[in-house]
C-alpha cells in the first residue's frame, strides 16, 4: 500500500488501479488512442495481456473469464472501431448480468465532437447497454472512476461498465492515490431481504402441497449454490432451472427437474403449470421461460427473490416479492424452516410426468446425432467440465443432455442470444479454470462468427476442446422455418458454403478431426479430453434435419407443448 502521494501519468495510474483491483488478465487490442497505455503495458509484470483478433472476441473472453471465475473481466480497446466492435459483447454482458469493465481509448478531449480520426461516441452508444459508463475528462478523476467502475460492475446485480479514456487524459500527470472505498449516494444495492417477507415465504413453503423452486443465474452469481442445495435437500423440494441457472443445483440429483421453458423438460413445465407455490430465486420470468404470461403458473402463489427491484412485477405479477441477495435470503429461509412440507403425492405426480414423456432421440438408425454426442460428453466428464456454448440447437441440446454438477460450469449467451459467443468465451474461461476441462460446444454457424480467435487459443496453448456440431444448417432457424414458416428454408442452408473445418483448424495450428458416425465418438472424445498441448477441434457431422424437442412455441402455453416431430400422416 502506497502511503505518500506520488505523481504519475494517466497510463501509470491505469495500471496501478488494475493492480489494486487484483486484475490478472486484460483482453485487448492496441490502437492509436491507447498507444500510451500499451507503451506502459510493455513493462507491466502484475497482469497478463491477452491479444485477441477482434475486439468482439475480447468482450466475450472477458465474459467467459468473469462467468467462470466470479471475478471482473477486463477489456482494453482503442477508440472508434475498437470500441464499437465491443458493443455486442457489452450488450450480451448486460442481458446476462456479467461483471466486465471495458476500457476504451478516445480521441483527445479537445477533439471530441469534431469527427476526429477513429472517433465514436462510445459513451452515448453504450448508454442503454451498460450498467453505467464514464467519460474521464480529467486525469485527477481517473483513479476514483476506475474504483467506481469495478465496484458498480461487481456489486448488486452485476453488469458491464465502460470507461472512456481520452488520449490526453492518459498522457497527463497528477498525484495518485487509490481510494479505499467509493461513496455513491445514488447506488446502494440492497443485500438483505426483508425479514418478515422471508418468514412469510417460509410459512408458505412449509404449508405447500406442490411447491417448486425456479432457479436462475442469480443463485450462481451470489455464490448461493450451497444454501440452495441445503434448503432444497432438507425440505425435499423439486428444483427446475433456467438456462443461466443450470449448475446451481446438481443435474444428476433426482430432485432436479432440469430446465424449464421453451425447450425445457416436459415434467418441469408441467410442474410449473401445476404447482401451488412457485419460488423464483434469482430469475427474471423471461419470455423464453414463461411463454404466454397469462397462462404461466396460474395455480401458484408466486414468491420472487431478486436483488434487482426492477425485475419484480416486470413480466409476471408476483404475490410476495423479496428484494435481496439470494444467497443471504436462502440462508435466512433455511433457518426459518422448522418443519418440511409433505410432498410424497407431489413427487409421485412429477415422476409420472417424467415417465410419461422423457427426453428422447432416435439412436437406432446408425446416424450421428447431437444429443448422443452431448450425452457422451456429459458421461465422460461426469458433469464436471466447464461447458461453453454458442446459440441455437446445440445450445438447447446441451442444456437438456449435459448434467451440470457445478455452478459456473455452463457459460452461454442467454438473454441476447449472441452467435459467436462460444469460442471466445471458452478462451476466457480457460484462463480462469485450470483444473477441469473447458469445452466449447458450438455450431457450424456460430463458430464462423468468431473463428479468428483460434489464433488466440493456439498462441496461448489453451487446452480447450472445440466441438463443432455441424448440421450444415443454421439449425434453430431452420427448425422455426419448418415448424412456423411454411418450410421455406430461406438462407439457412450452409452446406454449399461451409469451409473444411479440419483444414481450417490445421491452418491455425489446431489439432483437428472430423467424425461422421456414432461408432467413432467414444474414441475421439477420449483423445480430445486427454490432449493437453493446446486446443483440439472436432467437427461432428450430424443429421441435418433434427429438431429440438420438446418445444413450446413462442407466446404459447404449456398445453401447446410439442414433444416430437409430427408424423406427416398425423398432419392433416
Amino acid at each position: 500500500m502506497r502511503t505518500t502521494k506520488q505523481k504519475l501519468s494517466g497510463a501509470d495510474i491505469f495500471f496501478e488501479c488494475l493492480r489494486q483491483e487484483k486484475v490478472e488478465y486484460i483482453f485487448g487490442y492496441p490502437g492509436g488512442a491507447v498507444l500510451k497505455i500499451y507503451e506502459k503495458l510493455y513493462d507491466v509484470k502484475h497482469l497478463k495481456h491477452i491479444l485477441v483478433r477482434h475486439e468482439q472476441g475480447a468482450a466475450h473472453m472477458a465474459e467467459g473469464y468473469a462467468k467462470a471465475s466470479g471475478k471482473v473481466g477486463v477489456v482494453l480497446v482503442t477508440s472508434g472501431p475498437g470500441a464499437t466492435n465491443t458493443v455486442t459483447g457489452i450488450a450480451d454482458a448486460y442481458m446476462d448480468s456479467v461483471p466486465i469493465v471495458v476500457f476504451s481509448g478516445q480521441v483527445p478531449t479537445h477533439l471530441i465532437g469534431n469527427d476526429a480520426f477513429q472517433e465514436a461516441d462510445i459513451v452515448g452508444i453504450t448508454r442503454p447497454i451498460t450498467k453505467h459508463n464514464f467519460l474521464v475528462r480529467d486525469v485527477n478523476e481517473l483513479a476514483a472512476t476506475i474504483k467506481k467502475a469495478f465496484f458498480i460492475a461487481s456489486t448488486g446485480r452485476p453488469g458491464p461498465v465502460l470507461v472512456d479514456l481520452p488520449k490526453d487524459v492518459v498522457n497527463s500527470v497528477c498525484e495518485f492515490e487509490y481510494p479505499e472505498k467509493v461513496e455513491m449516494r445514488g447506488y446502494k444495492p440492497t443485500f438483505l431481504g426483508h425479514q418478515n417477507q422471508i418468514k412469510k415465504a417460509a410459512e408458505l413453503i412449509k404449508n405447500a402441497k406442490r411447491p417448486l423452486l425456479y432457479v436462475g443465474g442469480g443463485v450462481i452469481m451470489s455464490n448461493g449454490e450451497r444454501e440452495l442445495r441445503l434448503f432444497a435437500k432438507e425440505n425435499n423440494l423439486p428444483v427446475t432451472m433456467t438456462l443461466q441457472g443450470l449448475g446451481a443445483f446438481p443435474g444428476t440429483d433426482p430432485q432436479s427437474l432440469g430446465m424449464l421453458g421453451m425447450h425445457g423438460t416436459y415434467w418441469a413445465n408441467q410442474a410449473v403449470n401445476n404447482c401451488d407455490v412457485l419460488m423464483s430465486l434469482g430469475a427474471r420470468f423471461d419470455d423464453r421461460v414463461t411463454g404466454k404470461v397469462e397462462t404461466f403458473a396460474t395455480k401458484a402463489y408466486k414468491i420472487h427473490v431478486d436483488i434487482d427491484p426492477t425485475c419484480i412485477d416486470k413480466n409476471v405479477i408476483v404475490d410476495l416479492p423479496i428484494v435481496g441477495d439470494v444467497k443471504h435470503v436462502l440462508a435466512e429461509l433455511a433457518a426459518e424452516m422448522n418443519e418440511s412440507p409433505h410432498l410424497d403425492e407431489w413427487w409421485e405426480q412429477i415422476n409420472s410426468w417424467r415417465e410419461e414423456c422423457p427426453l428422447h432421440y432416435e439412436n437406432n438408425d446408425g446416424k450421428l446425432r447431437s444429443e448422443f454426442i452431448i450425452e457422451k460428453i456429459s458421461e465422460k466428464t461426469k458433469g464436471e467440465a466447464v461447458i461453453v456454448t454458442d446459440v441455437g440447437q446445440h445450445q438447447m441440446w446441451t442444456s437438456q443432455y449435459y448434467k451440470f454438477n457445478n455452478p459456473r460450469s455452463h457459460l452461454t449467451s442467454g438473454g441476447l442470444g449472441t452467435m459467436g459467443f462460444g469460442l471466445p468465451a471458452a478462451i476466457g474461461a480457460a484462463f480462469a479454470v485450470k483444473d477441469r476441462p473447458v469445452i466449447c460446444i458450438t455450431g457450424d454457424g456460430g463458430f464462423q462468427m468468431n473463428m479468428q480467435e483460434l489464433a488466440t487459443a493456439v498462441f496461448n496453448k489453451l487446452p480447450i476442446k472445440i466441438f463443432i456440431i455441424n448440421n450444415s444448417f443454421l439449425g434453430m432457424v431452420r427448425q422455426w422455418q419448418e415448424l412456423f414458416h411454411a418450410e421455406k428454408y430461406s438462407f439457412t442452408d450452409l452446406s454449399e458454403s461451409n469451409p473444411d473445418f479440419v483444414k481450417l483448424g490445421e491452418a491455425f495450428g489446431v489439432k483437428s478431426m472430423s467424425v461422421n458416425s456414432p461408432g467413432n465418438v467414444d474414441q475421439v472424445l477420449d483423445e480430445a479430453l486427454s490432449y493437453n498441448d493446446g486446443p483440439f477441434l472436432v467437427e461432428f457431422k450430424v443429421v441435418k434435419e433434427d429438431m429440438v424437442f420438446p418445444i413450446i412455441p413462442a407466446g404459447k402455453s404449456v398445453k401447446e407443448i410439442m414433444t416430437k416431430r409430427l408424423d406427416p400422416k398425423e398432419m392433416v
Binding site: R127, P128, R137, G186, P309, T310, D313
Partner: protein, 169 residues
C-alpha cells in the same frame, strides 16, 4: 393515469441523457420533462410528467431508481404538491382585439411581455390545466407560436394541524 415524478440526479455530464435513453429504451411515454439546478449545486432536479397503467408507472419509478446517477425519486402523484408551467404565447391581434387579449391575460394573472404592430406576447404561469385554459381561449385570435417550459413541481410543506393546547399553554 398521468404521473408527476420528481427526480434528484447528480448534476453531471450525461445524467439527463441517461434518463431520456431509459425512457425511450423501455418505451415509456414522456409528456414533459424539465431539468434545472436545485438548492445544492451538485444536484439537479428533473420533473417528469408521464402517463401509463399503474404497473408501468411502478416500473418507471424503479427504473429511474436503478440509474446510478439518480439520488432520489419521488412520485408526487396523489400527494399535495405545487405544480407550475410557464408558457410564452404570441397571439395575432387586430384593431379592437388587442384590449380583449390583454384583458384575458389579466384574468389569468399573466403579463404582457412583448408587442409589435401585429402580435402580442403573453407570459402565463400556473398549473398545466390553467395554461391549457388560456391556450383554449386565445386560439380563436390566432396563436403565432408558443413555448412551454414543461411542469416543475415540489411537494407542499407538511401541513401542521392547529393544536389548541399548544397555544393556550
Amino acid at each position: 393515469m398521468k404521473h408527476t415524478i420528481s427526480v434528484l440526479v447528480e448534476n453531471q455530464f450525461g445524467a439527463f441523457n441517461r434518463v431520456a435513453t431509459m425512457f425511450s429504451g423501455k418505451g415509456f411515454n414522456i409528456h414533459s420533462i424539465s431539468i434545472g439546478e436545485t438548492e445544492t449545486h451538485e444536484v439537479s432536479r428533473m420533473t417528469i410528467v408521464t402517463e401509463g397503467e399503474d404497473k408501468i408507472m411502478e416500473q418507471v419509478v424503479k427504473q429511474l431508481n436503478r440509474l446510478i446517477d439518480t439520488i432520489k425519486v419521488i412520485d408526487l402523484t396523489g400527494q399535495s404538491r405545487v405544480e407550475r408551467d410557464l408558457a410564452l404565447i404570441t397571439v395575432f391581434y387586430q384593431k379592437g382585439t388587442r384590449a380583449e387579449i390583454i384583458s384575458i391575460c389579466d384574468i389569468f394573472r399573466g403579463n404582457v411581455v412583448d408587442i409589435n404592430n401585429k402580435t402580442i406576447t403573453l407570459e402565463i404561469t400556473g398549473p398545466p390545466d390553467k395554461i391549457d385554459a388560456v391556450v383554449n381561449v386565445l386560439e380563436p385570435y390566432g396563436i403565432k407560436e408558443m413555448a412551454r417550459s414543461g411542469t416543475v413541481a415540489l411537494k407542499r410543506g407538511e401541513q401542521l394541524k392547529f393544536d389548541k393546547n399548544s397555544v393556550t399553554q
